[in-house]
C-alpha cells in the first residue's frame, strides 16, 4: 500500500496521504506523516460518519472534497476504509482523483493490501450510535435517518 501512497505523494501539490479504517484508526500513512496521528484518527472517524450520513440521506457519495483556505482534503471511500489525500489549494484535483482511482484499483487486486484492510474491517454503521455520538450529533443523525 505504501507504493500507492508514494504514487499519490509524487503529484505536484500533494502534501501526503493516509488510509483510515471505519473506526478512524490509521492503516497506512505516507512517510513522514502529513498530519498528527490523533488528527488523522479524528478526520477518519468523522468523514466515515459523513459517508454514513450521506448514505442514510439517500445522497450516497464515493468521494468528498473539503476545500479550505490553505489546504484541501480529498476523501475517497473504499468501503472498509477511507483514503485521504492532503493537498495544497491549487492542486490539479482531476489528476489527484484519477491517481487515487488507479491506486485504489491496484489495492483491490493486491492480496497483501486486502489482508491489511480486512484486519481493520469494521462496520461503518457502528460509528453512528447513541453511545458513540454526543447529544447534538445524535439528534442530527436521527433527523437525517428519518428523512432518508
Amino acid at each position: 500500500m505504501e507504493k500507492g501512497l508514494d504514487q499519490v505523494g509524487a503529484l505536484p501539490g500533494v502534501g501526503g496521504s493516509f488510509v483510515c479504517d471505519n473506526k478512524g484508526d490509521v492503516i497506512v500513512s505516507s512517510d513522514p506523516a502529513v498530519l498528527a496521528t490523533v488528527t488523522m484518527n479524528t478526520i477518519g472517524r468523522e468523514v466515515g460518519r459523513a459517508f454514513v450520513a450521506l448514505d442514510a440521506a439517500k445522497r450516497p457519495a464515493q468521494r468528498l472534497d473539503f476545500v479550505y483556505n490553505s489546504w484541501r482534503l480529498l476523501a475517497q471511500d473504499m468501503g472498509d476504509a477511507v483514503f485521504f489525500v492532503v493537498c495544497q489549494p491549487e492542486v490539479d484535483m482531476a489528476m489527484v482523483r484519477m491517481t487515487v482511482e488507479v491506486v485504489v484499483a491496484g489495492w483491490r487486486k493486491d492480496s497483501s493490501a486486502q489482508k491489511r484492510l480486512q484486519r481493520h474491517r469494521a462496520e461503518r454503521t457502528a460509528l453512528v450510535s447513541r453511545a458513540t455520538l454526543d447529544q447534538g450529533s445524535w439528534s442530527s443523525w436521527t433527523v437525517i435517518a428519518s428523512r432518508g
Binding site: A94, M95, M98, V102
Partner: protein
C-alpha cells in the same frame, strides 16, 4: 539492426541511445515523445544532422530534447532528414547541452522566474566599484518597479539572456531581487494535435470507434475547441472522459495511460 527500435527513455536514456546509434553508423529518424511534447532527431551514417522540437530546430532543439528525463522513443531507419541544422559532433553537442543545463540551474537559483523585480543593491559591494558601460546602462533602468521580464522586453533581449545578466550583476553585488510581483495571468499553452492523436488512441482502446465524438463532446463541455484546448486542463479532460468508461478495468487502464502522459509532460516542463 536498429530499424524499428522502440523503448522508454527512462530505461535507455537519450544520451546512451544516441551514442549507440552513432557508434552503429545508423541513418534515420529518432522520434521522441515525452508527455505532450514531441521531437525528432535525424542521423546520417551515425552523425547527427538535424533536430526539431516544438518550434525550435538545430542545436537549440537538441539541447531541449536531451533534458527530457523520460518518455518514449522510436527509431525508424533510412528516413532522410528534411534539413541540415546541426554541424557539431555528438560529443560536443552533449558537452554544450550539459554546460547549458548547469548554467540554467545556477541562474534559476538567483533569478527563479522573470516576475522578480530587480533593484540596485542598497549596500555597495565594496569600497570602490567598477561598472562596465554596458552594465551601467542596464543598471540605470533597474528601478525596483519593472520586473525582469519587462526589463528584458525593454532591452529587446531574450528572457534567458537577461536572466544571465541579472545573475552576473547579482553575483557582483550590484543588484538584488526585490519583491516578487504577482504573476500576471500567463497565456495558456495549447495541448496540441499530438496530444489529441495520443488521446484518440487511448480513448478508442477503451470506448471504440466513438472516440472522436466523445473527445469532441468533452472538449466542448469544458469550453474549448481542440485548437484552443490548454495543457493545464488535460487532467480534467481525461477525468471527464474516464467517467464515460463503464468497464472498471478499461477505465483504470485509460487513467493509467493518461497519468503517464501527464507525468511525462510535467517532468519535461
Amino acid at each position: 539492426m536498429a530499424e524499428g527500435l522502440t523503448g522508454s527513455l527512462a530505461q535507455l536514456p537519450l544520451v546512451d541511445l544516441l551514442k549507440m546509434l552513432a557508434a552503429g553508423g545508423q541513418s534515420g529518424r529518432l522520434e521522441l515523445t515525452s508527455g505532450l511534447d514531441q521531437g525528432d532527431i535525424y542521423l546520417v551514417k551515425g552523425e547527427l544532422v538535424h533536430a526539431e522540437c516544438d518550434m525550435q530546430v538545430g542545436d537549440a532543439a537538441f539541447a531541449r530534447l536531451v533534458t527530457w528525463p523520460n518518455g518514449q522513443f522510436r527509431f525508424e531507419g533510412h528516413v532522410p532528414p528534411p534539413d541540415k541544422t546541426i554541424e557539431k559532433p555528438l560529443d560536443r553537442l552533449l558537452t554544450e547541452a550539459a554546460r547549458a543545463a548547469s548554467e540554467r540551474e545556477a541562474v534559476r537559483r538567483v533569478v527563479p522566474n522573470m516576475d522578480v523585480v530587480p533593484r540596485m543593491a542598497r549596500k555597495s559591494p565594496g569600497p570602490s566599484v567598477t561598472v562596465s558601460a554596458a552594465d551601467w546602462e542596464v543598471l540605470a533602468t533597474v528601478d525596483g518597479v519593472l520586473s525582469a521580464a519587462e526589463l528584458a522586453r525593454a532591452w529587446g533581449v531574450e528572457e534567458l539572456e537577461f536572466a544571465k545578466l541579472l545573475y552576473r550583476m547579482k553575483l557582483n553585488g550590484m543588484v538584488e531581487m526585490a519583491v516578487v510581483q504577482q504573476a500576471a495571468p500567463q497565456q495558456r499553452t495549447p495541448a496540441g494535435p499530438a496530444f489529441f492523436t495520443a488521446l484518440n488512441t487511448a480513448v478508442a482502446g477503451a470506448l471504440g470507434p466513438l472516440a472522436e465524438i466523445i473527445i469532441d463532446d468533452a472538449v466542448e463541455d469544458l469550453g474549448f475547441t481542440r485548437a484552443t484546448f490548454p495543457r493545464d486542463a488535460v487532467a480534467s479532460l481525461a477525468e471527464r472522459i474516464s467517467g464515460e468508461i463503464r468497464e472498471p478495468d478499461k477505465r483504470v487502464k485509460f487513467q493509467q495511460t493518461m497519468l503517464q502522459m501527464l507525468r511525462g509532460s510535467q517532468q519535461a516542463a
